[in-house]
């Protein structure tokens, strides 16, 4: 047995971290110039296995530091401290079109990081590694409380940060896939925001009655935050992705009940029938169904459904009336929604109305539709069940792995800065411009 090989030292710091925290992977005690492969293996809650790998050459002192040294090839290349996470992909032989989404946020994502000799590209699981470390990645910080909410006919989960509070509140909406998606709210609570993840497409009431929710459903959710003893009613914000941005824009501009301190809209649009309910907005989209395109691999491109951006004022939320700061995040390669085109129109409307000082636009080249919290596997396309037609399709989201992953990291960091500045800062924040972001 090669003595030297037994002594390869692998460390990952921290070994238990939050999902959005960076780690430092260090390999030590190998020969200078030694070629090795770093490998990550993740078995998700559904039982699918994901892997990533990268090729490195040890330095003159026999070390590899993933935060400083370049990967020479693999599922990512270059200097990428978190590449082993965002470049994870299903192992060969897996079911196609998977997307990693952790639905149980009370347990960590457990990843095994290993070192193999040489520059390898496959067959990792059939070999014995030189060294291995298990790493835990958590959506919930210690002390964060998870509270299911079923009152007022809602299907939601409230995440409260540890401590007495009071905390600013957030209403968190996901997109057209429905379900109660908790992980972003769990992470936001870990950063000090009381966050309510709301299921508005497949809540209990819709499953049981077949009826979609009305606009009061969202106002009731807002009230849950407003009336909570540990939440500051004057500091409630809203964050929406994809279809969730439709609701966010509508609430921010037209709701008499919701007094939003700021809003974050990711990969969405202001285009919708402004008096419409969820159902009516969906029908509006479906009216343009013939604009659906397919690429060579038969993946669905829904990007054109809302195009061209209408000039009819009844078909888009009047963002010129917005009175709170807006953080708009778009991927320029979004194939699912015309987020970029909508952003251009929003900017123009706000400039004409004189409230563009409220707008901060983050636009990312080569990023796709699913701009989520960072360091999770990128999916350019995945299986998607269309809510109205109930059909299972493969939706093309767009984006290129490295660019999209960097966009996620940058957008998330700036989202936290934006939320902290608007929800945590001292008494005199009116509108704050974030052009330096």
């Amino acid at each position: 047995m090669d003595r030297k090989q037994c002594c390869v030292k692998l460390s990952v710091q921290p070994s238990r971290g939050l999902m959005d925290e960076k780690f430092i992977i260090l390999v030590q005690n190998v020969f200078p110039g030694f070629q090795l492969t770093l490998h990550a293996l993740y078995k998700c809650d559904d039982g699918h296995s994901w892997e990533a790998f990268a090729h490195y050459t040890a330095s003159a002192i026999g070390t590899v530091n993933v935060s400083e040294d370049p990967s020479l090839g693999g599922t990512y290349s270059g200097v990428e401290p978190m590449g082993l996470l965002w470049s994870l992909r299903p192992v060969p032989g897996s079911k196609p079109w998977l997307r990693m989404r952790k639905m149980n946020v009370q347990t960590p994502m457990v990843v095994t990081i290993s070192v193999y000799p040489g520059h390898q590209t496959e067959g990792f699981l059939d070999q014995v590694s030189l060294a291995g470390v298990v790493v835990e990645r958590w959506y919930m910080a210690p002390g964060v409380r998870r509270i299911p909410i079923t009152e007022a006919g809602l299907t939601a989960t409230l995440f409260l940060p540890p401590g007495p509070g009071p905390f600013p509140g957030l209403l968190d909406l996901w997109g057209g896939g429905g379900k109660l998606v908790e992980y972003r709210s769990a992470l936001l609570a870990s950063h000090g925001f009381a966050s309510l993840a709301l299921d508005y497409l497949t809540p209990k009431v819709t499953i049981e009655t077949g009826k979609m929710v009305d606009n009061q459903y969202f106002e009731r959710a807002y009230k849950v935050l407003e009336q909570h003893p540990q939440i500051l009613s004057s500091r409630i914000a809203m964050i929406g992705l994809s279809f969730g941005t439709c609701i966010t824009f509508k609430m921010a501009v037209y709701s008499q009940v919701a007094k939003l301190r700021c809003i974050v809209c990711i990969s969405g649009s202001h285009v919708q029938p402004i008096d419409g309910s969820v159902e009516q907005i969906m029908s509006f989209f479906n009216k343009n169904a013939e604009k659906t395109r397919f690429n060579n691999e038969n993946q669905v491109i829904w990007h054109d459904l809302l195009l061209p951006i209408p000039t009819d004022p009844s078909l888009k939320v009047d963002v010129g009336q917005l009175q709170c700061p807006l953080l708009l995040v778009v991927g320029e390669d979004d194939q699912n929604w015309p987020a970029h085109e909508s952003a251009m129109d929003i900017k123009e409307m706000m400039e004409r109305a004189g409230n563009s000082h409220l707008l901060t636009l983050l636009s990312y080249p080569n990023a796709g539709h699913l701009i989520e919290p960072p360091f999770t596997p990128f999916a350019k396309a995945s299986a998607f069940r269309d809510i109205s037609s109930r059909q299972m399709l493969v939706a093309l989201w767009g984006g290129e792995t490295a660019a999209h992953s960097r966009a996620q990291e940058d957008a998330w960091r700036k989202t936290l800065v934006f939320l902290r500045a608007n929800l945590y800062a001292g008494a005199n924040t009116d509108a704050t411009s974030f052009s330096n972001l």
Binding site: M1, C6, K9, P14, S15, R16, G17, L18, E21, P108, V110, T112, V128, S129, L130, A131, G132, V133, V134, V135, E136, W138, A141, P142, G143, P162, G163, P164, G165, P166, F167, P168, G192, L232, S234, R235, L423, Y424, A427, N428
Partner: protein, 399 residues
Amino acid sequence: MMAKVIGLSTMSDTVAPMLSVFPSRALVDENFKVVVENLPPGSPVTLHSLHQCEDKHYWEAYGHYISNHRGTVSVTDDLSFGGTYTGKEAMGLLWSMRPVPGSREGLRLRKRNVCSPLLVNISVYRGHVVEGFREQAPLASSLTERWYMAPGGPCFYLQVHYLKNYFLVFFSFCPGPFPGLLDVWGGGGGLVEYRSALLGSHGYASLALEYFAPGELKSSDLEFNYFETAFNIVKDHPQVMPDKVGIFGLSLGASLTLLLAAESSIIKPSCCVFCYSVSNMNTVHKSFFLVISFKVGRINCPVMVVNSHDDQNMATVESSEDMAQMMRAAGNLHLLTRLYYPDAGHLIEPPYTPHFRATKFVKDTKEKVILLWGGQTKPHSDAQEDSWKKILAFLEQNL
């Protein structure tokens, strides 16, 4: 021009300061950073830690700070003006913890279940508070987890005839083989796993050995054979490198390990670490120590001895001098590394755990006494931090 209404509405608009601990989940021997933001500038605050141990007793520590012009307090960078620790002490909120006022005498913080973390609540209070923390609401608080085991560490117990039970830690996802350690504890008896768990988290297959239940010291039959069997179990394990097995001993365990290393024909450790108690012991089983003549010249492996002054439990410093003499005479002095820590007291354990000057101890007659271990809190904690780093480096070099 709109007049700004300040007053009641602004007061009710006040959001809590932000308290963060990074990393929020860490190993027991890792550092953390505690930061409070969003405080009014120049305001006096108290940082407080609270832990409820497995025996349900409460432990706490606190430090008095003043926020800077940006309304921030950083425990790593700022000075504590008073409390259970003073000065710039990044980890003071942990190592200066002591039982809350009104607790029983002689308590000691020891975690038995190493598969779950130590939960410590860190809070910030307005003003410089010295007591009554549980009766007031803090401005903010956060929870941090301190683990003895790294992720992926399975716990399993092997029942072996002869040995009552023992605990072997290693990480099965790892290919191995690992260097091994026999971890022998002190006169308190019973199975103490947490140091082994921590050593396991640093890559050693570590066996924590129980050799008598608390209070059974005199009546148990201590023989070489018992320890030799344990040593072989580690050495012969398929995932342990047989030529890289060391011994780690604390207190009574240190005396035993020294004797084993010197006298046993079977136990040939690659290196030894003794956290001192190399001395004339009067509470130890006679038959075992009838042959105490420190033929330490026979020790053939690198040895590290950690001892201190102000050691009220045993006359350790004197005996370690004897040891050095004997090794010099045998020509083995180059194998000896000694670490001295003045004012550190007897119990030197992994860092960032509370210091005990005196704790409850069950003697062989089942009599409960309070044993004075000695040492001052700050030097003892510094000694724990420094010695642990040096011990880990020593083990890495020799195993």
